[in-house]
């Protein structure tokens, strides 16, 4: 196959369809993006230009330090007075960096953003006054004369503000960060660039994975569209069989646990560490108590014998998580914190949580773990169990009760007293 495309040796716009141009920038030397992502061969900041009979729309911009390249490519195709619309599908600085200067050069252009982008726009531009913009959502469209751009409300992929823009006459979806990846290749198109499958999946795993529910909602809007190209804001433009990337997103966002244990079952995972076997005994009794409830599948894991990444995978699909830790020097033990600080890539919102542990003096670990779980947006329906040193038979019975109560919450069988006093709550 010919490899004649090389956008690194010029600063002109690249036509990707009739009247549609790539005006982005290459960042091949970037090795870490946003602190959290490794970028072995850099990234691209993709921006686009759509020409209609009445004017031009610019879709997204680039990171501020790549503005020169962006404006050079833009100027190779249009004069600033022709720009009728500026659309920002996502306001993160790597896409809005050149926006202030673009608005200064094309003051007549109307800015189109999502409703949720408004407060971010003000914070990014540090300007409350004189900001003129129009908010758009699914069903809204703007005409460029002879062709129109349609908007899709696709929030939380991966910020609250994100949206997509669709050009029906060319069947191009300008998807923002969705379907993007950090992969820099001067050949630009997916049928020309190198093997970027790892980068595509890695990007999904770190950027989109926490928002699978929102991915599924977005796919409902995207899947019915005719798609000749997907033009994301990072990485290759997907013009060769774009539909397979949509299918792949659906696969990546679909639960595998429900296939394994059945839709009606709820998964409860108990992680623990134990110094002298006391917290382990508590874990076993809690497991027994929870297992007595029908439709609850309990898994018991000693953190000492596992690795973080597979546990993160398990946690992602679990319905409830219990952590057991002894208290050592006033703290939970490090493997517990290691796991609880590795969960940014999965969505924990609303999962049921709880904590337990044996202690010698003061037993801070349980409350600290609960606070961490609340911080991770988990629900803590029952105060955790703390046992001083070796659990008695009565305390082991309380462990079984605790496990049963958590399991009952999971299957909606819990029975609470009708009315409680605020002052009586822990």
């Amino acid at each position: 196959m010919s490899t004649d495309i090389d956008v690194s040796n010029h600063r002109e716009a690249v036509e990707i369809a009739d009247g549609v141009y790539w005006i982005g920038a290459l960042d091949p030397t970037l090795r870490t993006f946003d602190i959290i992502l490794s970028t072995a061969n850099g990234t691209t900041y993709n921006a686009y230009l759509v020409r209609g009979e009445d004017g031009v729309a610019v879709i997204d911009t680039v990171k501020a330090c790549f503005s020169d390249e962006f404006f050079a490519r833009l100027e190779s195709q249009v004069a600033y007075h022709e720009i009728k619309a500026i659309i920002l599908n996502h306001l993160e600085p790597d896409h809005s960096g050149a926006l202030p200067e673009l608005m200064r050069r094309a003051p007549q252009a109307q800015l189109y953003i999502s409703q949720r982008a408004t407060s971010m726009l003000k914070a990014l531009l540090n300007a409350d006054a004189d900001l003129c913009y129009t908010t758009v959502t699914t069903g809204d469209q703007i005409s460029l004369g002879g062709r129109a751009l349609h908007f899709l409300h696709t929030p939380f992929l991966h910020w609250p503000d994100t949206q997509c823009t669709y050009l029906p006459d060319a069947a191009i979806l300008f998807s923002g960060d969705i379907f993007g990846c950090h992969y820099c290749d001067k050949r630009l198109f997916n049928d020309r660039v190198g093997d970027f499958r790892f980068s595509f999946d890695y990007y999904y795993a770190h950027i989109m994975r926490p928002f699978k529910k929102h991915v599924m909602a977005a796919l409902k809007l995207i899947e019915p569209l005719q798609l000749r190209q997907i033009a994301p804001t990072h990485g290759p433009i997907l013009r060769d069989r774009p539909r397979r990337y949509v299918t792949h997103y659906r696969e990546l966002s679909t639960s595998s646990l429900s296939h394994a244990i059945g839709e009606e079952n709820r998964s409860l995972i108990i992680f623990y560490m134990s110094s002298y076997g006391n917290t382990a005994r508590m874990a076993e009794q809690i497991s027994d108590g929870a297992s007595a409830i029908e439709d609850v599948r309990v898994s018991l894991y000693d953190l000492q014998g596992g690795e973080t990444d597979p546990f993160v995978d398990l946690i992602e699909e679990a319905d409830a998580l219990l952590f057991g830790s002894p208290t050592i020097n006033g703290d939970a033990v490090k493997p517990v914190w290691d796991l609880l600080s590795s969960l940014a890539v999965v969505n924990l919102k609303g999962k049921i949580g709880g904590a337990f542990g044996s202690y010698g003096w003061s037993g801070e670990a349980v409350r600290m773990i609960e606070d961490r779980m609340r911080g991770l947006k988990m629900q803590i329906p029952h105060a955790g169990l703390r046992v001083k040193l070796i659990p008695t038979d009565e305390e082991l019975s309380a462990c079984r009760t605790f496990g049963r109560q958590i399991a009952e919450v999971l299957v909606g069988k819990h029975h609470n007293p009708e009315v409680v006093e605020l002052a009586d709550l822990v």
Binding site: K349, K377, Q379, N416, L422
Partner: protein, 94 residues
């Protein structure tokens, strides 16, 4: 001190609280499903739906109104970190 009852419908639990208590002060202690982000009325994470007793919560501030609008809140949706309980009401996660 005047008291009021707030019911968290997702867990079927009612709590008797002093009037003026913020919902956030109760919901986490009782283990209800409303979740929190910034806890200062800016992010919209703690949006809840008031199913009964809408008028028994304090009026939303200008800031809360703005955040509710940005987050496309429905009718009778409030921020649990901002709303204070004045009389009996029922809420659930939005």
């Amino acid at each position: 001190m005047a008291k009021a009852k707030i019911t968290f419908e997702d867990i079927g639990q009612t709590v008797n609280v002093p009037a003026g208590t913020r919902v956030i002060e109760v919901s986490e202690k009782i283990g209800a499903g409303i979740i929190y982000g910034c806890r200062e009325g800016d992010c919209g994470t703690c949006m809840m739906h008031v199913t009964e007793g809408w008028n028994n919560l304090t009026e939303p501030s200008v800031l809360e109104e703005k955040v509710l609008k940005e987050n496309m809140a429905g009718r009778h949706d409030r921020l649990a970190c901002q709303a204070q309980i004045l009389g009996d009401c029922k809420v659930k996660p939005a």
